[in-house]
C-alpha cells in the first residue's frame, strides 16, 4: 500500500546571492509525524513556504496524492488540504471561535450567515479533540494554548491531509503542551501527515516517528526517531561535536549581593530571595507563575506595591529601568524582538544604547571613534556574525540578535543580570555560546538570574533554583537536589519546601 501523501523532488530555491534550499527531496506519509530540525537559517522555513505555496521554488516538483502540482499558491494548497499552523496565529481576536474557524468560507442560508450550522460543526470538531470551548467565545478571551487548538481545528474543518506545525510548543505551558501532544496523536490516528518543526529536541522523541535534519539549505538525513538520540541529532544539525551541552561550573559561595524582601505587585505576592556573587540563580515555574513579573519589578519596569530591594546591603530606590541600570541591574527580556532589541537600528546603535552617555561628552555629542572601538570589541568577544556593525539588527538571526542584546548589557557593566528565557527560539550552536557566556560572567563575580521554561537548561545551568506557582515562591532547590519531578511538583502548587 502506498501511503505517501506528499512528495517533494529536488526542491531548490535561489535568492540573489543565496541558496536557501539546495535540492531537497522528501516524502511524507499518512499517519506519520515527521519532524524537521535544523539551526536557524537551515532552510526549514523556506521549505515549509514552498509546500504551502507562499513562495515558488526556483526548481523542483511537488507531488500531492500522486498528482504533480504546478504553480502552487497558498489558496491552492489550502484547497488541496495542506494547512499550516504558524507560531504567530492568523486568528482575528474580536471574532468568536466558530467565525474564526470558518473565516473566509462562512456557511450561508440565502444571504444570511448560517450560524447554527457553523456552531454545530465547530462543536463537533472541538468535542472530537476533547476540548471544552464554547464556539461563541471570542478568540481574544482564550489562552495562547487554546488559540493554537483553534488553529488546528481550522485545519481539521478544512479536511486537511497535511498539517504543518511551525514551533507549536514555543508559546505553550507544560500542561498545554501535554494537550497538544494528545491532539497530535489524534490527528495521526486519523491519517493526517504531520510536519512538525521544533527547536526543542525532547519533544521530537516524545511524539514524532521520523526526523529529518536540514543544514545550510541542504537535506542531510532522515532518521527513525526510535533509532537515534539527541546527541546524534545535534551533531548532524551543527556538523560539529558540541561536547558537553552545559559547560561545567563550580560555585564558591561568596558574598550576598542582591536581596529582595517582601516584594509585591499586582501579580506577585510576598517575594523573598537573595542572590550571591558568582551564582546562577534559576527561576522555574509555569507560564504565568510570576517569574517575569519578579524580573520586571526588580528592574523597575512595573510598579511595585511594596517591598525592598537591597544591593550589597544598600536599599535601592527603583522607580524606572533607568534607576535600576544606574544601580547596576540589567534585564535581558523574554520578548527579544519587542522588548530586547531595537530591530530598526544598527548593531552599533543597539550595543551602546543603554550606556550611551558614557560615549559622549558633557554636551551630549557622541564620540564615534570610542563607540565603534567598543562595539567591535564586543562583536568579537560574543562572536556576533555580521560583516559590519552598521548592519540593522532586524537582518540578523535570532541567536545573533540575542547576542547584540547581551552586548548592550555587558557594555553597561551591570552587577546583576537577569536573563528571561535567554535561549528561546535560538539554535543549538548559539545556545551553547550563550551558556558559556553566562558562566563566564558568573566567574567574573556577577549575579546571574535566569528565568527559564526549559527544564534541561534550568537543571544544567543553575546553582540554585527557585520555583514559583501563581505569584508565590513555592520552593527552593540546590543544584545537587534538583530534579525535574521535584520542580514540577512545586511548580504545580505542591508545597514541598526543601530548604
Amino acid at each position: 500500500m502506498n501511503s505517501t501523501v506528499l512528495e517533494l523532488k529536488n526542491i531548490r530555491k535561489l535568492y540573489p546571492g543565496v541558496v536557501a534550499l539546495d535540492g531537497v527531496s522528501m516524502s511524507f506519509k499518512k499517519g506519520e509525524v515527521h519532524a524537521i530540525v535544523g539551526e536557524n537559517g537551515a532552510g526549514k522555513s523556506t521549505f515549509i513556504k514552498s509546500i504551502t505555496g507562499a513562495i515558488e521554488p526556483t526548481e523542483g516538483e511537488i507531488i500531492f496524492k500522486g498528482e504533480f502540482i504546478a504553480h502552487n499558491n497558498p489558496a491552492k494548497s489550502l484547497e488541496m488540504g495542506i494547512c499550516a499552523v504558524y507560531q504567530e496565529f492568523n486568528l482575528i481576536p474580536y471574532l468568536n471561535v466558530a467565525e474564526n474557524i470558518f473565516y473566509g468560507r462562512y456557511k450561508t442560508k440565502g444571504i444570511f450567515v448560517d450560524y447554527e450550522s457553523m456552531y454545530k460543526e465547530t462543536k463537533e470538531i472541538l468535542d472530537d479533540l476533547g476540548v471544552k470551548i464554547d464556539p461563541r467565545t471570542l478568540v481574544k478571551d482564550l489562552t495562547v494554548g487554546y488559540q493554537q487548538i483553534i488553529e488546528i481545528a481550522k485545519s481539521i474543518s478544512r479536511r486537511a491531509k497535511v498539517i504543518i506545525m511551525d514551533e507549536p510548543s514555543a508559546p505553550l505551558t507544560n500542561s498545554e503542551l501535554i494537550y497538544l501532544f494528545k491532539i497530535v496523536a489524534k490527528l495521526k490516528e486519523r491519517g493526517c501527515a504531520i510536519i512538525y518543526i521544533s527547536h526543542r529536541l525532547e519533544e521530537i522523541f516524545e511524539i514524532c516517528d521520523k526526523v529529518t535534519v536540514f543544514r545550510d539549505g541542504k537535506y542531510i538525513q532522515t532518521l527513525s526517531v526510535a533509532e537515534t538520540n539527541k546527541e546524534e541529532l545535534i551533531t548532524l544539525m551543527v556538523n560539529r561535536d558540541l561536547g558537553e551541552q552545559f559547560p561545567p561550573k563550580q560555585l564558591v559561595k561568596k558574598d550576598k549581593v542582591l536581596e529582595v524582601k517582601g516584594l509585591n505587585t499586582d501579580v506577585i505576592k510576598d517575594i523573598h530571595f537573595e542572590a550571591y556573587e558568582g551564582e546562577i540563580l534559576g527561576f522555574a515555574g509555569l507560564v504565568g507563575a510570576g517569574r517575569t513579573e519578579i524580573a520586571r519589578a526588580v528592574f523597575g519596569a512595573d510598579k511595585i506595591n511594596g517591598g525592598e530591594i537591597l544591593l550589597n546591603g544598600k536599599r535601592l530606590n527603583i522607580h524606572s529601568p533607568k534607576d535600576a541600570i544606574a544601580s547596576g541591574i540589567g534585564l535581558i527580556p523574554e520578548d527579544r524582538k519587542q522588548h530586547g532589541a531595537l530591530l530598526h537600528m544598527s548593531i552599533q546603535e543597539n550595543t551602546t544604547y543603554a550606556h550611551l552617555s558614557n560615549f559622549a561628552n558633557k554636551f551630549g555629542m557622541i564620540d564615534f571613534k570610542k563607540e565603534i572601538k567598543a562595539v567591535n570589541e564586543y562583536k568579537e568577544a560574543l562572536k556576533i556574525k555580521t560583516p559590519f556593525i552598521s548592519q540593522k539588527v532586524k537582518n540578523l538571526s535570532g541567536g545573533n540578535q540575542q547576542k547584540v542584546v547581551l552586548a548592550k548589557w555587558l557594555i553597561t557593566d551591570c552587577k546583576v543580570l537577569i536573563f528571561d528565557e535567554p535561549t528561546r527560539g535560538i539554535d543549538v550552536g548559539a545556545k551553547q555560546e550563550i551558556y558559556q557566556l553566562m558562566i563566564e560572567l558568573a566567574k567574573q563575580g556577577k549575579v546571574i538570574i535566569m528565568i527559564s521554561s526549559e527544564m534541561p537548561e534550568l537543571l544544567g545551568m543553575s546553582d540554585r533554583i527557585i520555583v514559583m506557582h501563581e505569584g508565590r515562591i513555592t520552593g527552593e532547590l540546590y543544584r545537587e537536589d534538583a530534579t525535574q519531578e521535584k520542580i514540577l511538583s512545586m511548580a504545580s502548587g505542591g508545597q514541598e519546601e526543601v530548604k
Partner: protein
C-alpha cells in the same frame, strides 16, 4: 560582502532635480538668482518647522498644532509690539507660548495616553480660535521698523529667514546624528518599550520634542510678522499639511524610527520649487492644491512599491 548602494534613497533627490530642470526649461525666470532666493525665502517658515516635525514624527508622533502655534505666536508678538513692548520681550513671550503649547501636547500624549493626532488636532483648532481672539479677528499692525530686518533683511546675498532656516537645519542634523538625544529619538520611535527597558526616559523625550517643535513654530510665527509687517490671525493656516508633506516626501517614516534630516531638506525644497514653478507658470491656485496632494500620494506610493519589491527580494 559589499554594501549595495540603495538607489531608492536617491529617488527623491532625482525628483527634485527633475523638477528644477523642468521649470528651468519651461520658464525663463525660474533659474535666476533672484528667483532662487525667492524659493528659499518662501520655504524658510516651513523648513524651520519641518525640522521639529521630523523629531516628532521620528518618535512615532505627529503635531498638527504647528500652523496654529504660528498664528498665535504672530498675533501675540504683533499685539505686544504694537502696544509698545520691546521687540525682544515680545518675541520672548511668543517663544514661551510655543514652548508651553509643546509641553501641553506632551502632557496630553504622555500623561493621558492620547493619540498624538487627536491631541494636537484639538490644540490646532483651539489655538486658531485663540489667535483670532487675541487679534480681535483683524490683522495687527504697528510693527516697529527696526523689527523688519528679521523677515525682510539680507546678510550679504542671503535673506535673513533663509539663514535662520539653514542654521536650524544644521542644528537639527547635528542633534539627530551626533548626540545622545538624537539617538534616543530614533530609538523611542522605533521601539518605545525596548527604549524604556534600556533606561531611556521615553516621556521626557516626548516632552522635549513637542517643546522643540512648539518653539520652532513660534519662531516661525515671529519671522512671519516681520516679513508681512503685521500679525495675521490666519498666519500659518494649513501649514501643518505642507510641513508634514515635506517630511514624508523626505522619507521620514510615519511609523517612527526612520528618516533623515538630509531627506527632509530635499522634501522642503521640492515643496518650494513646485509652488514657485507653478506660480511662474500661472497655474490656477486650485490646481496647485491638486498637484501638491498628488505629489504626496505619489511619493508614498512609490515608497511602498519599492518596499514591497525589496521585501520580496529579501525573504529567505
Amino acid at each position: 560582502m559589499k554594501k549595495k548602494i540603495d538607489w531608492s534613497k536617491y529617488g527623491i533627490l532625482a525628483a527634485l532635480i527633475a523638477l528644477i530642470v523642468f521649470f528651468s526649461i519651461v520658464t525663463d525666470s525660474f533659474l535666476t538668482s533672484v528667483n532662487i532666493m525667492n524659493v528659499l525665502r518662501q520655504v524658510a517658515i516651513i523648513g524651520m518647522c519641518s525640522v521639529g516635525m521630523t523629531f516628532v514624527i521620528l518618535t512615532g508622533g505627529i503635531d498638527l498644532s504647528v500652523g496654529s502655534v504660528i498664528g498665535v505666536s504672530a498675533v501675540t508678538a504683533a499685539t505686544l509690539m504694537g502696544g509698545g513692548t520691546h521687540p525682544v520681550l515680545a518675541c520672548l513671550a511668543a517663544l514661551v507660548i510655543g514652548f508651553v503649547v509643546g509641553l501641553i501636547n506632551g502632557a496630553l500624549i504622555n500623561e493621558l495616553d492620547m493619540f498624538p493626532m487627536i491631541a494636537t488636532l484639538g490644540m490646532m483648532t483651539a489655538l486658531r480660535g485663540v489667535a483670532y481672539l487675541v487679534s480681535g479677528g483683524k490683522p495687527v499692525y504697528g510693527i516697529p521698523k527696526s523689527f523688519l530686518f528679521l523677515g525682510q533683511g539680507y546678510i550679504s546675498y542671503f535673506p535673513v529667514p533663509v539663514i535662520i532656516m539653514i542654521i536650524v537645519f544644521i542644528l537639527g542634523f547635528i542633534i539627530l546624528n551626533k548626540t545622545v538625544f538624537g539617538r534616543t529619538v530614533y530609538g523611542t520611535g522605533g521601539n518605545q518599550e525596548a527604549s524604556r527597558l534600556s533606561g531611556v526616559s521615553v516621556k521626557k523625550v516626548k516632552y522635549q520634542i513637542y517643546a522643540i517643535e512648539g518653539i520652532l513654530a513660534a519662531a516661525a510665527g515671529i519671522i512671519l510678522v516681520s516679513r508681512v509687517n503685521s500679525g495675521q490671525p490666519a498666519a500659518g493656516q494649513s501649514y501643518e499639511m505642507d510641513i508634514i508633506t515635506a517630511c514624508v516626501l523626505g522619507g521620514v517614516s510615519i511609523n517612527g524610527g526612520e528618516g533623515k534630516i538630509t531627506g527632509v531638506i530635499v522634501g522642503v525644497l521640492i515643496m518650494g520649487v513646485l509652488t514657485n514653478g507653478m506660480i511662474l507658470l500661472n497655474v490656477n491656485e486650485f490646481w496647485q492644491w491638486v498637484v501638491k496632494g498628488a505629489v504626496l500620494i505619489l511619493a508614498v506610493a512609490l515608497d511602498k512599491i519599492s518596499q514591497k519589491y525589496k521585501a520580496k527580494v529579501k525573504t529567505v
